[in-house]
Amino acid sequence: MTDKDKKEKTPRQPMPEQPAEIRRRNFEEVPLGYPEETAVLEAGRCIQCKSPGCRQGCPVGIDIPGFINRITARDFSGGIRKLKEQNALPAVCGRVCPQESQCESQCILGKKGDPVAIGRLERFLADWERRQSTSDIPDPAPATGKKVAVVGSGPSGLTVAGDLVLKGHKVTVFEAFHKPGGVLLYGIPEFRLPKEILFYEINVLKQMGVEFVMNAVVGKLVSLPELFAQGYDAVYVAVGAGLPHFLGVPGENLIGVYSANEYLTRSNLMKAYLFPQYDTPLVMGKNVVVVGGGNVAMDSARTAMRMGAESVTIVYRRSRQEMPARAEEVHHAEEEGIEFRLLTNPVAFNGDEKGRLVSVTCVQMELGEPDASGRRSPKVIPGSEFTQPTDMAVISVGAGANPLLTSTTPELTLNRRGYIMADQETGKTYMRGVWAGGDIVTGMATVIEAMGAGKKAAKSMHDFLTLGW
């Protein structure tokens, strides 16, 4: 028997989860994480490839066999150090990365059977570290005397802040909201990413010397040129893709129709699910319709279920194959009793005399020829219109570039869709001393890609701060 065959005898280890009937009504985390023995067993499945495909699949090129090897040897602190060479937020990425299309999609074991559960192992190490009373916080390099401003505290901004503070620069993060974290805080729900994890990571950054200024709407409170005038030597712009798209159909301004951004911000950031202990209210939908097929739609639907809805239906205009949401999240949503109405598109929201939503009118779709992006574009089936009662709807059909900062900064060059033009390799923009990355450059992508952009930019910014533009 070859080494490889032996390894494959151990099946991919499942991760314990809260049972669906219970978790659909609470906000606690769904997957519970690997116990130590399970993690070691799963790590043992990795055959330590010489040229590992998994590493190519990770946008930041984590040394995956390297950290997995440490788990097998039960050297967990060694493992976490290996991880952190490339990824400052492993507890986050281990949970929310779409591993099935990134690292795990390239794992050699996936060719014949199931890939190594790289994400779960990453999460295991990060959670292990958090449970230790002493976490070792790296010492920054001697102070360089240079000042860096980071605009936006999402994963991209946090990455730049962490990397540059370690290089000895003085870093200040400016955030429009009253708390840092970006989409990790206000978008992704507690049951997928407990906020305690995020606060822990942000605290580590604070201990390394990063300063956070909240309630700082850059572009309104202070402009980029003013930041330079205040003595900042370089600026990283990572303001995300915070502009909600609506459908543009009649009745969209009825009470009970939300953008996903509003719905999730009310429940996550403002903790409306704890109303009236927390002051922010939320319409309590009994029969909820969520429009869209991405992760954001799944998060909205699962939140509505936890808020006590009797039924939650996801309405998506293409078929299951085209749904951009992670397979795992679709699966979780189904387990929790969320219904899917595929190849369906809303054409109108209907209200009562008080302007409250009472029903939605939809049409059925069929898939036509593949379009430029390779996806088959949906077409309306004539005469297929139907109306379904609903008292709450969440529109989750994507986001665009929020113009608040860019419209007040003419020095930045934007593309046709309003995103900032930045060099792919370095993140340099057309404005001297300014870098940009994450969703405001690429459009809504993933956490790890936003972090990857931050890594590249931090390197280029460090070169600039020490060598010049």
């Binding site: 309630n215 700082a216 909600p244 301004n253 009470i255 009236p276 209210p281 113009p403 608040l404």
Partner: protein, 281 residues
């Protein structure tokens, strides 16, 4: 924390004025802009227009009517207390220019929002006529400040206890008969703004109104504040809060403002209950 440096009650305690230390915002704010604040960790984000700013002293002045839980909680704050968060300045500043004769008409607490705008139009060289209305004498606010900020100031009350007996719009109608008016700025309760627009529409007088839609982030990220203007959806927090009143769908705004009536009542009852139970204030 953003500390309250000065506090006074207006309109028999139904309206409160707080002067708050917020030096960076004070330096940047322009008439017509607002802030979003959060009283404490469990608080909601509520928008309030800056009624005044003092860049030298680093303060902003907020004047708010006590209408529900958050504003009742704010009323209970004393000098030395503060707000956990204040973000701003938000929204587009009022477009101030020399147009000729400007009528600034305010109702209720709307007068507080109107005051810096009135002053700015006067400073820009316009002839400014102010009309301030309320239900009754005791609820009028900022009469002296408005008189100083304008060339002419008419007070009016619904019950005739002070100044003109009737609505501000009656005074406006009268003025429209008597002289040429180039611009009207109307700020107050939604029905009042709607009524002002109906009056000025007949003579095609450009009319600005400030829309108090329910808001959350105030940066155009959530779409919660959407209003229909000229048949198009706009976000009041970034595209406004001021709009051409003749284009605004006021009925939709009125409905959307009632979105959370039940929860607001529940919140207020709980707050009042807790206030009694612990015997403070």
């Amino acid at each position: 924390m953003y500390t309250i440096l000065n506090r006074r009650e207006l309109a028999m305690g139904t309206v409160v004025e707080n002067v708050v230390a917020a030096p960076l915002i004070a330096k940047k704010a322009k008439p017509g802009q607002f802030v979003i604040l959060r009283v404490n960790e469990t608080g909601e984000r509520i928008p309030l227009t800056m009624a005044d700013t003092d860049p030298e002293k680093g303060t902003i002045t907020l004047i708010y009517q006590v209408v529900g839980k958050s504003t009742a909680l704010m009323k209970s704050l004393a000098v030395g207390d503060g707000f956990q968060d204040i973000a701003g300045p938000l929204g587009k500043p009022t477009h101030i220019e020399k147009v000729g004769t400007v009528v600034c008409i305010g109702g209720g607490t709307g007068v507080a929002v109107l005051h810096p705008i009135t002053r700015a139009f006067k400073e820009a060289g316009n002839r400014v006529i102010a009309i301030c209305g309320s239900r009754t004498k005791d609820l009028l606010i900022l009469e002296d400040a408005m008189a100083a900020a304008s060339h002419e100031c008419t007070l009016c009350t619904d019950d005739g206890t002070c100044g003109f007996h009737g609505f501000g719009t009656d005074v406006l109608k009268d003025l429209m008969e008597k002289e040429r008016i180039d611009l009207v700025v109307g700020i107050g309760p939604v029905p009042m703004m709607k009524f002002v627009c109906e009056v000025t529409r007949k003579k095609h007088i450009k009319t600005l109104v400030s829309l108090n839609a329910i808001m959350l982030d105030g940066t155009g990220m959530c779409g919660c504040c959407r209003v229909t203007v000229g048949g198009k959806t706009q976000f009041a927090c970034v595209d406004g809060p001021e709009f051409d009143g003749h284009q605004v769908n006021f009925d939709e705004l009125t409905q959307r403002l009632a979105a959370y009536r039940d929860q607001e009542r529940q919140s207020m009852e709980l707050f009042e209950h807790n206030q009694c139970a612990c015997g403070t204030k």
